[in-house]
Amino acid sequence: MTRAEYNNIVKEWANNVFRFALKTINDAEEAKDVVQQAFEVLWTRHESIAFEKGKSYLFTIAHRRCMDYYRRDKPKEMEHIPEVITSNEQSKNEWKAYLQEALKILDQQSKQLILLKDYEGYNYNEIGQITGLNESQVKVYLHRARKLLKNYLIQKKQLL
Protein backbone atom coordinates (compact mmCIF):
# COMPACT_ATOMS: atom_id res chain seq x y z
CA MET A 1 0.00 0.00 0.00
CA THR A 2 1.08 3.55 -0.54
CA ARG A 3 1.62 6.18 2.09
CA ALA A 4 -1.71 7.77 1.18
CA GLU A 5 -3.48 4.44 1.53
CA TYR A 6 -1.81 3.87 4.86
CA ASN A 7 -3.00 7.28 6.01
CA ASN A 8 -6.51 6.42 4.86
CA ILE A 9 -6.41 3.31 6.98
CA VAL A 10 -5.36 5.37 9.98
CA LYS A 11 -8.33 7.67 9.44
CA GLU A 12 -10.75 4.89 8.76
CA TRP A 13 -9.81 2.22 11.25
CA ALA A 14 -7.71 3.58 14.12
CA ASN A 15 -10.74 4.18 16.30
CA ASN A 16 -12.15 0.75 15.49
CA VAL A 17 -8.91 -0.89 16.51
CA PHE A 18 -8.95 1.24 19.63
CA ARG A 19 -12.49 0.16 20.47
CA PHE A 20 -11.56 -3.47 19.93
CA ALA A 21 -8.49 -3.17 22.18
CA LEU A 22 -10.28 -1.14 24.81
CA LYS A 23 -13.14 -3.56 25.12
CA THR A 24 -10.74 -6.46 25.23
CA ILE A 25 -8.28 -5.21 27.82
CA ASN A 26 -10.30 -2.49 29.54
CA ASP A 27 -7.46 -0.04 29.79
CA ALA A 28 -7.58 3.05 27.62
CA GLU A 29 -3.85 3.82 27.77
CA GLU A 30 -2.87 0.27 26.97
CA ALA A 31 -5.46 0.23 24.21
CA LYS A 32 -3.86 3.32 22.67
CA ASP A 33 -0.52 1.54 22.85
CA VAL A 34 -2.02 -1.41 21.05
CA VAL A 35 -3.28 0.88 18.30
CA GLN A 36 0.10 2.54 17.97
CA GLN A 37 1.95 -0.75 17.86
CA ALA A 38 -0.43 -2.17 15.29
CA PHE A 39 0.08 0.82 13.03
CA GLU A 40 3.82 0.76 13.55
CA VAL A 41 3.97 -2.78 12.31
CA LEU A 42 1.64 -1.98 9.46
CA TRP A 43 3.79 0.95 8.41
CA THR A 44 6.95 -1.07 8.67
CA ARG A 45 5.45 -3.55 6.23
CA HIS A 46 3.18 -1.29 4.26
CA GLU A 47 4.99 -1.84 1.01
CA SER A 48 4.31 -5.55 1.08
CA ILE A 49 0.71 -5.40 2.31
CA ALA A 50 -2.16 -4.75 -0.04
CA PHE A 51 -4.48 -1.93 0.91
CA GLU A 52 -7.46 -4.30 1.04
CA LYS A 53 -5.68 -6.43 3.62
CA GLY A 54 -4.78 -3.50 5.80
CA LYS A 55 -7.72 -3.67 8.15
CA SER A 56 -7.53 -7.38 8.88
CA TYR A 57 -3.77 -7.08 9.27
CA LEU A 58 -4.28 -4.38 11.87
CA PHE A 59 -6.78 -6.45 13.77
CA THR A 60 -4.48 -9.44 13.66
CA ILE A 61 -1.71 -7.43 15.29
CA ALA A 62 -4.13 -5.88 17.75
CA HIS A 63 -5.48 -9.30 18.67
CA ARG A 64 -1.97 -10.58 19.38
CA ARG A 65 -1.04 -7.54 21.39
CA CYS A 66 -4.21 -7.83 23.44
CA MET A 67 -3.49 -11.48 24.14
CA ASP A 68 0.06 -10.57 25.14
CA TYR A 69 -1.32 -7.96 27.46
CA TYR A 70 -3.80 -10.39 28.90
CA ARG A 71 -1.08 -12.93 29.61
CA ARG A 72 1.16 -10.31 31.13
CA ASP A 73 -1.24 -8.26 33.21
CA LYS A 74 -4.46 -9.03 34.86
CA PRO A 75 -7.16 -7.15 32.99
CA LYS A 76 -8.83 -4.38 34.87
CA GLU A 77 -12.44 -4.01 35.63
CA MET A 78 -14.33 -2.56 32.73
CA GLU A 79 -13.70 1.14 32.48
CA HIS A 80 -16.55 3.43 31.78
CA ILE A 81 -16.66 3.76 28.05
CA PRO A 82 -18.49 6.76 26.73
CA GLU A 83 -21.23 5.45 24.53
CA VAL A 84 -22.56 7.11 21.45
CA ILE A 85 -26.24 7.21 22.25
CA THR A 86 -28.17 6.35 19.16
CA SER A 87 -31.60 6.08 20.67
CA ASN A 88 -33.56 7.83 23.34
CA GLU A 89 -35.36 4.75 24.40
CA GLN A 90 -34.29 4.19 27.95
CA SER A 91 -34.96 0.49 27.98
CA LYS A 92 -32.85 -0.01 24.89
CA ASN A 93 -29.99 1.86 26.46
CA GLU A 94 -30.34 -0.11 29.65
CA TRP A 95 -30.22 -3.31 27.69
CA LYS A 96 -27.08 -2.11 25.91
CA ALA A 97 -25.52 -1.38 29.27
CA TYR A 98 -26.35 -4.87 30.51
CA LEU A 99 -24.93 -6.32 27.36
CA GLN A 100 -21.70 -4.41 27.84
CA GLU A 101 -21.58 -5.62 31.40
CA ALA A 102 -22.20 -9.17 30.26
CA LEU A 103 -19.02 -9.05 28.17
CA LYS A 104 -17.13 -9.32 31.43
CA ILE A 105 -18.25 -12.88 31.97
CA LEU A 106 -16.55 -14.00 28.79
CA ASP A 107 -12.98 -15.13 28.56
CA GLN A 108 -10.60 -13.05 26.46
CA GLN A 109 -10.86 -15.18 23.40
CA SER A 110 -14.64 -15.30 23.36
CA LYS A 111 -14.80 -11.58 23.95
CA GLN A 112 -12.53 -10.93 21.00
CA LEU A 113 -14.55 -13.19 18.75
CA ILE A 114 -17.75 -11.39 19.68
CA LEU A 115 -16.15 -7.99 19.08
CA LEU A 116 -14.74 -8.99 15.73
CA LYS A 117 -18.06 -10.45 14.67
CA ASP A 118 -20.43 -7.78 15.91
CA TYR A 119 -18.44 -4.58 15.68
CA GLU A 120 -16.23 -5.30 12.73
CA GLY A 121 -18.59 -7.55 10.83
CA TYR A 122 -16.05 -10.22 10.01
CA ASN A 123 -17.26 -13.66 8.99
CA TYR A 124 -16.04 -16.88 10.59
CA ASN A 125 -13.34 -17.38 8.04
CA GLU A 126 -11.91 -13.89 8.46
CA ILE A 127 -12.06 -14.14 12.24
CA GLY A 128 -10.20 -17.42 11.95
CA GLN A 129 -7.45 -15.74 9.97
CA ILE A 130 -7.13 -12.95 12.50
CA THR A 131 -7.15 -15.13 15.59
CA GLY A 132 -5.40 -18.18 14.23
CA LEU A 133 -8.39 -20.43 14.87
CA ASN A 134 -10.05 -22.59 12.29
CA GLU A 135 -13.55 -21.85 11.10
CA SER A 136 -15.18 -24.60 13.17
CA GLN A 137 -13.49 -23.39 16.31
CA VAL A 138 -14.65 -19.86 15.62
CA LYS A 139 -18.20 -21.10 15.20
CA VAL A 140 -18.17 -23.25 18.32
CA TYR A 141 -16.57 -20.59 20.51
CA LEU A 142 -18.84 -17.88 19.19
CA HIS A 143 -21.98 -19.91 19.71
CA ARG A 144 -20.85 -20.86 23.19
CA ALA A 145 -20.24 -17.22 24.00
CA ARG A 146 -23.68 -16.22 22.71
CA LYS A 147 -25.31 -18.84 24.89
CA LEU A 148 -23.42 -17.55 27.89
CA LEU A 149 -24.48 -13.99 27.13
CA LYS A 150 -28.07 -15.02 26.57
CA ASN A 151 -28.29 -17.03 29.78
CA TYR A 152 -26.60 -14.31 31.77
CA LEU A 153 -28.98 -11.68 30.49
CA ILE A 154 -32.04 -13.87 31.01
CA GLN A 155 -30.96 -14.37 34.62
CA LYS A 156 -30.39 -10.67 35.00
CA LYS A 157 -33.82 -9.93 33.58
CA GLN A 158 -35.42 -12.34 36.01
CA LEU A 159 -33.63 -10.74 38.93
CA LEU A 160 -34.82 -7.31 37.89
Partner: protein
Protein backbone atom coordinates in the same frame (compact mmCIF):
# COMPACT_ATOMS: atom_id res chain seq x y z
CA UNK B 1 -35.32 -36.21 19.28
CA UNK B 2 -36.99 -33.01 20.33
CA UNK B 3 -33.85 -32.00 22.16
CA UNK B 4 -31.78 -32.71 19.09
CA UNK B 5 -34.07 -30.60 16.95
CA UNK B 6 -33.93 -27.82 19.48
CA UNK B 7 -30.14 -27.88 19.50
CA UNK B 8 -30.06 -27.99 15.72
CA UNK B 9 -32.40 -25.03 15.41
CA UNK B 10 -30.42 -23.12 18.00
CA UNK B 11 -27.33 -23.55 15.89
CA UNK B 12 -29.17 -22.61 12.72
CA UNK B 13 -30.53 -19.47 14.36
CA UNK B 14 -27.04 -18.45 15.43
CA UNK B 15 -25.69 -19.11 11.95
CA UNK B 16 -28.53 -17.03 10.55
CA UNK B 17 -27.80 -14.17 12.88
CA UNK B 18 -24.12 -14.44 12.07
CA UNK B 19 -24.91 -14.21 8.36
CA UNK B 20 -23.27 -17.53 7.67
CA UNK B 21 -26.18 -19.15 5.79
CA UNK B 22 -26.84 -18.84 2.10
CA UNK B 23 -30.19 -17.51 0.91
CA UNK B 24 -31.81 -20.89 0.59
CA UNK B 25 -30.69 -22.05 4.01
CA UNK B 26 -31.70 -18.75 5.55
CA UNK B 27 -35.19 -19.02 4.04
CA UNK B 28 -35.62 -22.48 5.52
CA UNK B 29 -34.63 -21.29 8.96
CA UNK B 30 -36.91 -18.28 8.67
CA UNK B 31 -39.79 -20.57 7.78
CA UNK B 32 -39.18 -22.58 10.96
CA UNK B 33 -38.92 -19.45 13.04
CA UNK B 34 -42.21 -18.18 11.67
CA UNK B 35 -43.91 -21.52 12.15
CA UNK B 36 -42.89 -22.22 15.73
CA UNK B 37 -43.28 -19.64 18.49
CA UNK B 38 -40.56 -21.24 20.62
CA UNK B 39 -38.06 -20.76 17.79
CA UNK B 40 -39.19 -17.20 17.34
CA UNK B 41 -38.63 -16.59 21.04
CA UNK B 42 -35.21 -18.21 20.79
CA UNK B 43 -34.38 -16.07 17.78
CA UNK B 44 -35.37 -12.91 19.62
CA UNK B 45 -33.37 -13.88 22.67
CA UNK B 46 -30.28 -14.45 20.60
CA UNK B 47 -30.82 -11.37 18.48
CA UNK B 48 -30.78 -9.32 21.65
CA UNK B 49 -27.24 -10.41 22.56
CA UNK B 50 -25.66 -9.00 19.42
CA UNK B 51 -23.86 -5.70 19.65
CA UNK B 52 -24.77 -3.06 17.14
CA UNK B 53 -22.02 -2.54 14.63
CA UNK B 54 -22.06 1.22 14.73
CA UNK B 55 -22.40 1.41 18.46
CA UNK B 56 -19.83 3.16 20.61
CA UNK B 57 -17.14 4.01 18.11
CA UNK B 58 -14.78 6.22 20.04
CA UNK B 59 -13.49 9.43 18.63
CA UNK B 60 -9.85 9.58 19.57
CA UNK B 61 -7.53 11.68 17.46
CA UNK B 62 -5.04 9.26 15.97
CA UNK B 63 -3.88 11.61 13.25
CA UNK B 64 -0.36 11.47 14.69
CA UNK B 65 -0.15 7.96 13.30
CA UNK B 66 -0.44 9.27 9.78
CA UNK B 67 2.76 9.57 7.81
CA UNK B 68 3.98 12.75 6.30
CA UNK B 69 1.67 14.93 8.35
CA UNK B 70 2.63 17.68 10.74
CA UNK B 71 1.12 15.74 13.60
CA UNK B 72 3.22 12.72 12.93
CA UNK B 73 4.84 12.47 16.32
CA UNK B 74 2.60 10.93 18.94
CA UNK B 75 1.62 12.84 22.03
CA UNK B 76 3.72 12.32 25.06
CA UNK B 77 2.29 9.56 27.15
CA UNK B 78 3.00 8.65 30.73
CA UNK B 79 2.73 5.00 31.53
CA UNK B 80 0.19 4.96 34.26
CA UNK B 81 1.17 1.56 35.47
CA UNK B 82 4.74 2.56 36.19
CA UNK B 83 4.97 2.17 39.92
CA UNK B 84 7.67 3.75 42.08
CA UNK B 85 9.37 0.41 42.49
CA UNK B 86 9.88 0.29 38.74
CA UNK B 87 11.42 3.69 38.84
CA UNK B 88 13.90 2.45 41.41
CA UNK B 89 14.50 -0.71 39.40
CA UNK B 90 15.01 1.32 36.28
CA UNK B 91 17.55 3.55 37.94
CA UNK B 92 19.31 0.58 39.44
CA UNK B 93 19.30 -1.18 36.10
CA UNK B 94 20.78 1.80 34.40
CA UNK B 95 23.53 2.06 36.97
CA UNK B 96 24.24 -1.67 36.85
CA UNK B 97 24.32 -1.80 33.13
CA UNK B 98 26.52 1.20 32.92
CA UNK B 99 28.85 -0.48 35.39
CA UNK B 100 28.96 -3.67 33.38
CA UNK B 101 29.67 -1.80 30.25
CA UNK B 102 32.43 0.24 31.72
CA UNK B 103 34.02 -2.80 33.27
CA UNK B 104 33.86 -4.91 30.17
CA UNK B 105 34.90 -2.37 27.66
CA UNK B 106 36.95 -0.05 29.74
CA UNK B 107 35.13 2.75 28.21
CA UNK B 108 32.23 4.94 28.98
CA UNK B 109 28.75 4.48 27.80
CA UNK B 110 26.26 6.95 26.72
CA UNK B 111 24.27 6.68 29.83
CA UNK B 112 21.55 8.69 28.24
CA UNK B 113 20.20 11.80 29.64
CA UNK B 114 16.91 10.96 28.10
CA UNK B 115 15.60 7.89 29.71
CA UNK B 116 15.96 4.30 30.51
CA UNK B 117 15.74 1.11 28.66
CA UNK B 118 13.53 -1.86 28.82
CA UNK B 119 13.80 -4.86 26.64
CA UNK B 120 11.64 -7.61 25.47
CA UNK B 121 12.82 -11.15 25.16
CA UNK B 122 15.87 -12.27 23.40
CA UNK B 123 15.23 -14.41 20.43
CA UNK B 124 17.82 -14.43 17.76
CA UNK B 125 21.45 -15.26 17.54
CA UNK B 126 23.91 -12.79 16.21
CA UNK B 127 27.53 -12.84 15.40
CA UNK B 128 30.35 -10.39 15.12
CA UNK B 129 31.57 -7.49 17.16
CA UNK B 130 29.32 -5.53 19.34
CA UNK B 131 28.62 -1.90 19.07
CA UNK B 132 28.26 0.66 21.69
CA UNK B 133 25.08 2.51 21.79
CA UNK B 134 24.52 6.17 21.84
CA UNK B 135 21.20 7.73 22.25
CA UNK B 136 21.97 11.21 21.14
CA UNK B 137 22.49 10.18 17.55
CA UNK B 138 19.20 8.45 17.66
CA UNK B 139 17.62 11.57 18.96
CA UNK B 140 18.92 13.51 16.01
CA UNK B 141 17.44 10.97 13.64
CA UNK B 142 14.08 11.31 15.24
CA UNK B 143 13.84 15.05 15.07
CA UNK B 144 12.95 15.46 18.68
CA UNK B 145 12.52 19.15 18.36
CA UNK B 146 8.87 18.35 18.32
CA UNK B 147 9.03 16.72 21.71
CA UNK B 148 9.05 18.71 24.91
CA UNK B 149 12.53 19.07 26.23
CA UNK B 150 13.54 17.88 29.62
CA UNK B 151 14.07 20.48 32.27
CA UNK B 152 17.74 21.40 32.23
CA UNK B 153 18.08 21.03 35.96
CA UNK B 154 16.73 17.47 35.80
CA UNK B 155 19.06 16.28 33.11
CA UNK B 156 21.63 13.73 34.10
CA UNK B 157 25.16 14.78 33.33
CA UNK B 158 26.55 13.37 30.13
CA UNK B 159 29.01 10.68 30.91
CA UNK B 160 30.33 9.91 27.50
CA UNK B 161 32.82 11.44 25.21
CA UNK B 162 31.68 12.30 21.75
CA UNK B 163 34.57 10.57 20.12
CA UNK B 164 33.60 7.29 21.74
CA UNK B 165 30.03 7.21 20.65
CA UNK B 166 28.93 4.44 18.37
CA UNK B 167 25.53 3.90 17.06
CA UNK B 168 24.48 1.44 14.47
CA UNK B 169 22.22 3.74 12.57
CA UNK B 170 22.04 4.69 8.99
CA UNK B 171 23.08 8.01 7.70
CA UNK B 172 20.58 9.55 5.35
CA UNK B 173 23.21 11.29 3.31
CA UNK B 174 25.12 8.24 2.21
CA UNK B 175 22.86 5.32 1.92
CA UNK B 176 22.54 2.65 -0.70
CA UNK B 177 19.03 1.41 -1.17
CA UNK B 178 19.21 -1.28 1.46
CA UNK B 179 20.23 1.14 4.14
CA UNK B 180 17.37 3.43 3.43
CA UNK B 181 15.15 0.86 5.00
CA UNK B 182 16.64 1.54 8.36
CA UNK B 183 16.82 5.27 8.12
CA UNK B 184 13.31 5.55 6.88
CA UNK B 185 12.02 3.50 9.74
CA UNK B 186 13.72 5.70 12.23
CA UNK B 187 12.73 8.79 10.44
CA UNK B 188 9.13 7.88 10.04
CA UNK B 189 8.50 5.74 13.03
CA UNK B 190 8.89 7.17 16.44
CA UNK B 191 8.67 3.69 17.79
CA UNK B 192 10.14 2.10 14.73
CA UNK B 193 11.75 -1.24 14.98
CA UNK B 194 14.99 -1.53 13.18
CA UNK B 195 17.19 -4.49 13.08
CA UNK B 196 20.85 -3.75 13.15
CA UNK B 197 22.80 -6.90 13.09
CA UNK B 198 26.35 -6.65 14.05
CA UNK B 199 28.89 -6.08 11.41
CA UNK B 200 31.65 -3.68 10.71
CA UNK B 201 30.62 -0.24 11.71
CA UNK B 202 31.48 2.50 9.31
CA UNK B 203 31.94 6.06 10.17
CA UNK B 204 29.50 8.54 8.75
CA UNK B 205 31.57 11.04 6.76
CA UNK B 206 31.82 14.36 8.47
CA UNK B 207 30.12 13.20 11.62
CA UNK B 208 32.71 11.69 13.84
CA UNK B 209 30.28 10.47 16.42
CA UNK B 210 27.93 8.68 14.07
CA UNK B 211 28.39 5.23 12.73
CA UNK B 212 26.28 2.92 10.75
CA UNK B 213 26.01 -0.76 10.05
CA UNK B 214 24.44 -1.97 6.89
CA UNK B 215 21.40 -4.14 7.12
CA UNK B 216 22.24 -7.66 5.93
CA UNK B 217 18.75 -8.19 4.63
CA UNK B 218 15.42 -6.44 4.69
CA UNK B 219 13.40 -6.76 7.85
CA UNK B 220 11.26 -9.83 8.07
CA UNK B 221 7.77 -9.77 9.41
CA UNK B 222 8.33 -12.62 11.80
CA UNK B 223 11.25 -10.84 13.35
CA UNK B 224 9.44 -7.61 13.71
CA UNK B 225 6.45 -9.24 15.24
CA UNK B 226 8.32 -11.43 17.60
CA UNK B 227 8.13 -9.07 20.50
CA UNK B 228 7.34 -11.14 23.47
CA UNK B 229 6.36 -10.02 26.85
CA UNK B 230 9.03 -8.58 28.99
CA UNK B 231 10.63 -10.61 31.69
CA UNK B 232 11.00 -7.47 33.74
CA UNK B 233 12.91 -4.29 33.39
CA UNK B 234 15.89 -5.09 35.54
CA UNK B 235 16.79 -8.53 34.14
CA UNK B 236 16.14 -7.35 30.65
CA UNK B 237 18.37 -4.35 31.09
CA UNK B 238 21.12 -6.57 32.34
CA UNK B 239 20.62 -8.99 29.49
CA UNK B 240 20.77 -6.14 27.07
CA UNK B 241 23.94 -4.86 28.64
CA UNK B 242 25.51 -8.29 28.58
CA UNK B 243 24.71 -8.72 24.98
CA UNK B 244 25.73 -5.33 23.85
CA UNK B 245 29.07 -5.49 25.49
CA UNK B 246 30.56 -8.81 24.88
CA UNK B 247 28.63 -11.86 25.86
CA UNK B 248 27.20 -12.11 22.40
CA UNK B 249 24.04 -13.71 23.55
CA UNK B 250 21.30 -12.75 21.24
CA UNK B 251 19.57 -9.88 19.70
CA UNK B 252 17.47 -7.91 22.01
CA UNK B 253 14.63 -5.60 21.50
CA UNK B 254 15.27 -2.61 23.61
CA UNK B 255 12.79 0.02 24.42
CA UNK B 256 14.29 3.35 25.23
CA UNK B 257 12.36 6.25 26.48
CA UNK B 258 13.51 9.54 25.18
CA UNK B 259 12.45 12.99 26.10
CA UNK B 260 11.12 13.09 29.61
CA UNK B 261 11.79 9.75 31.17
CA UNK B 262 9.17 7.23 30.22
CA UNK B 263 7.14 9.51 28.07
CA UNK B 264 7.80 7.93 24.75
CA UNK B 265 9.55 4.85 23.69
CA UNK B 266 11.56 3.66 20.79
CA UNK B 267 11.98 0.02 20.17
CA UNK B 268 14.79 -1.37 18.18
CA UNK B 269 16.33 -4.67 17.73
CA UNK B 270 20.04 -4.80 18.24
Amino acid sequence: MEQFEQAYMEEQILLLLDGELNTEQADQVWAQIEAFPEYKALYEEYASVYFEQEEAIPNIDFSYLEKGSAAELPPMKVKRSLKPVWGIAAGLALVLTTGILIRMNNTEIAATDHGLAKSDKIHQTVQGPIQQLAIDSLERKLDLKKAPQMNKSKQAPKRYKDAELRLALQDNASTPSQRVAISSIYKDQVSGIAQVQSGALQEVPGRNSDYYASLPQPLKASEELDLKESGGLLPDMIKAGQWIFGERKNTTTVEIAIGNNEKRSIKFKL
